[in-house]
Symmetry: D2
Subunit: 310 residues, 4 copies
Amino acid sequence: MKVAVVGVGNNTSALVQGLALYRDSGSLVGIRRPVIDGLGVGDIDIVAAFATSAEKIGRDLTEAIFLPPNNFPRLDCDLPSAGVPVTKGLVDASEVPRVAAALAGAEVLLYSAPSGRPETARAYAEAAHTAGVAFINTTADPVARDPRLLDRFAAAGLPLIGDDLASQFGTSVLHNALLRLLAERGLTLVSSYQVNLGGTEDFRNLVENPNTKAQSKLNALSAADKVQVAPLGYLSQLKSQKVAHLNLEAQGWGGTAVSVDVKLTVHDPSGAAGVNIDLIRLAASALRTGQGGYRAEAASLLKSPPGTAI
Amino acid sequence: MKVAVVGVGNNTSALVQGLALYRDSGSLVGIRRPVIDGLGVGDIDIVAAFATSAEKIGRDLTEAIFLPPNNFPRLDCDLPSAGVPVTKGLVDASEVPRVAAALAGAEVLLYSAPSGRPETARAYAEAAHTAGVAFINTTADPVARDPRLLDRFAAAGLPLIGDDLASQFGTSVLHNALLRLLAERGLTLVSSYQVNLGGTEDFRNLVENPNTKAQSKLNALSAADKVQVAPLGYLSQLKSQKVAHLNLEAQGWGGTAVSVDVKLTVHDPSGAAGVNIDLIRLAASALRTGQGGYRAEAASLLKSPPGTAI
Amino acid sequence: MKVAVVGVGNNTSALVQGLALYRDSGSLVGIRRPVIDGLGVGDIDIVAAFATSAEKIGRDLTEAIFLPPNNFPRLDCDLPSAGVPVTKGLVDASEVPRVAAALAGAEVLLYSAPSGRPETARAYAEAAHTAGVAFINTTADPVARDPRLLDRFAAAGLPLIGDDLASQFGTSVLHNALLRLLAERGLTLVSSYQVNLGGTEDFRNLVENPNTKAQSKLNALSAADKVQVAPLGYLSQLKSQKVAHLNLEAQGWGGTAVSVDVKLTVHDPSGAAGVNIDLIRLAASALRTGQGGYRAEAASLLKSPPGTAI
Amino acid sequence: MKVAVVGVGNNTSALVQGLALYRDSGSLVGIRRPVIDGLGVGDIDIVAAFATSAEKIGRDLTEAIFLPPNNFPRLDCDLPSAGVPVTKGLVDASEVPRVAAALAGAEVLLYSAPSGRPETARAYAEAAHTAGVAFINTTADPVARDPRLLDRFAAAGLPLIGDDLASQFGTSVLHNALLRLLAERGLTLVSSYQVNLGGTEDFRNLVENPNTKAQSKLNALSAADKVQVAPLGYLSQLKSQKVAHLNLEAQGWGGTAVSVDVKLTVHDPSGAAGVNIDLIRLAASALRTGQGGYRAEAASLLKSPPGTAI
């Protein structure tokens, strides 16, 4: 599969390094689905990358992924030069034709920039449409949820998959599993909290623009009326790690107390890459078989698939 | 339902107090199934109780449950005298007729003595059979797993449900749920441990006779080759609480580390009572409708149902 | 000792209930210094209380302390009516004479209102000065740090003790002890964080006006350059409990990793009352022996004693 | 300093690798005292090593330290061949002369074998005495506590330092610090536990021969009557890491609950090497200045210095 990426942040660093590692080692550690529609983890070549940071533009992708503020660790694998210099990303819709031209040869465009710039996200989708390339939106910005856009991709036989990637293993996944387990065993939830701490640039952005993140986290949780989400904490020392502290207080037989306290430590960019590897294969396979539009199989990998509120 | 119990330890204390509390309050806190086959939580009367401790024999059941070494807490509810004096339990098979006579009027005999005395367990089962009473074995001693005995109960139209109660919410339930969640999300387990600390007499017995308990715990866990179970720790200060520390170390995308650390605090006797309340109703309902033998619906409440190794 | 209090919040609830409990029980549980200058814990009578909430004014102190938003738990002790109706507190300096008159018979005025209203704090100090009463400022507002005011109290033979109470056992105390222990054993600190969660009205105020609190927390910590303090989290479900999660990552011999993870759970108002009980006795004893002004012995109980920055 | 070691286990691995790392890097990470009596961390040469394992004998020390069951990690530093082949250790006293001869050129003999073989420990001490070499006993076997032996070393102007090394940072150090902190702040301890898990061969030996270890741990703790120590758990997956879970339940003002839960993760062999580096310098400096016998300055580094019970 020939893949182009928008955004050369931590998530792209995790993806690029992981692809090299898996190809070298033949390992399947941390891989949810070794093969999707006949496509393996190592069957991916990154053929283009777009970014807006002046320091990154023009550098080889394999160097650019280590520039600050990126802080995902260097994995223990050879990383030969990709031969892919980072291209200047688009700033407004007038640049769609330039980007579309740069997508020649790509099958999938993975949009992995920070959330919060819907116009930009859609401009890249337009470029993909123009170039005949499948589009994946990993951000919360509404792209695949836009029915008009989705129809146009479908009509053109081009896959459009999104929005908002659900981490392979994050706080919501874990918290929900515990809430469900308590309910299933007949315990009565009294109260529960989660607090998330992280050190990536993404995390800092979320802290500074908290608007709907806490609410979105609550929406993701069953039993939400008993669950409280503390403000995100940006702690630079954590680098690309996320640390979450969870507590669940419940009552069992006779009202006696049951307490569960959890500390979760995880690399956020790995959680993204571990899902992107599946989204890319779903998109590429659909493109090759001429299935345009959304692909329902992706639903469990997304927080806001088509049909959810914008 | 008219129920007799063998054993006046913490589990019986939790059951007796909980029944009073639920009847008084109408609450359903901590109840997994409010109604089973039309039978509610409050529809139970304890009509006989057997014990071997000289201090307990002759005392009203509602007093005997608070005698040492019992240390389950006093719940916040009125506990009027049961009018049920504790009866001397049987020591050998010659006493089966005496016990059978004492079961007159009971529908279900709940065997809730310590594990490790299979002859005693079977003698009580004989007494139940003689008296025409359903039998529930909550211990690890093989009773319902004995095909000959099971056949005899079935032939007599008497339910026989066991063996070895699975706690409503304990370490195995939680550890397994986490192991399964990691696997389902595609993480690769590196290592995992659990250590269990408790302060009940049951716990002390297990510590002193650890034989197969650690192995049985491992059997209960998926991914058992990566999981290690530390020796049980008897800490009297915990009283009827159990504390478990769990750790799971895994690898996600690119082999990056994922750690989950958990502390669980729970009252062991509540975990037993919360399951006994379901077993009793399953047994009583089966007796009333003439279904003898085992009842498959009980499988999820038992560690060693019929068909598992003895 | 005859004591008047300003503020009928959680801290006053903890103080009032605790005084009753200790007097009844003769217990010394949780008491740091049973006797100070011959004065015991039980030798205190609350003789006046000031508040601004319309619901509290006119109610007996022993009822008012349970009105929302107060959420400190009801301790297990008899609490006979104090015979002390809550008095309307002052809003501006014109009311100083009224308050001074209401202080007749008191020896100590404990200022235990929320931080952030320095004019009010000083007006109460004026009232105490007028009435010949010792003054304790438990808030961060500068009162004892005001040299002119301190001189006037000293000249009048009136104790003035403050500012800003240091909790008997809180996050800073614990975090500092751990940081010092690591240093003393020769470990090299790599990084450390703390996150504080709480459910009191005080906590909510701090979250909404975070200005200098995180910085002040950092100031309180040794090795501050390696320590990061996450934003406070207001979680109403915690009520008067505070929960703190601490982490310390260090290196030992050969640079190998040492990790310490801590969860602290504590009732904030108890931490205040446990210190107020000492401050009151220090103030009363000084008043009785004619020592005006500040009392150096209080330094370890305060965050901002005289001489620290305003 | 010219140092010989008995025992080529994890602790020696940590020492040997750490010496190379500190010499290379000039780092002082994890070092408690950079200089003792003018002696730096890098001023040490290992000149002889004794072991009993057939696999280790004859191998260069820098290879032997990585043979199983050793599982201390390989530190990130160059480790050039030491030019020191591992010598066959002594089995009985008849071999003292051979070992003494092999100590020619050494100033200090560090006895770092497993605890539990007092005859062997003393035979090595004899060899050191014969060879005019200072002796350090890091095991619990009584050597420096033997007054007759100590007198002979003193008379010969030879240092004898022991017994039983106290880890630089272990469970006892941390637990004690927390118990003392609670007491100092006036909290009343209700209960406290610790459970230790580890994966070294030393740990496995302790688990299999638990005799006095739990009691010795209790002796090391203040407030011991409220503290319970769970059985050690040998978990091979932890390798050279030790994990301890600590809990402290206390009461503050008004009897309200204060809870502290701690997880400590540390490499046991590093804790030993970080103390051995100080003991070696104390011994070498004393030898060079002709101070025979025990050295009081070592007391804080030892669990059982001369004068404590045997």
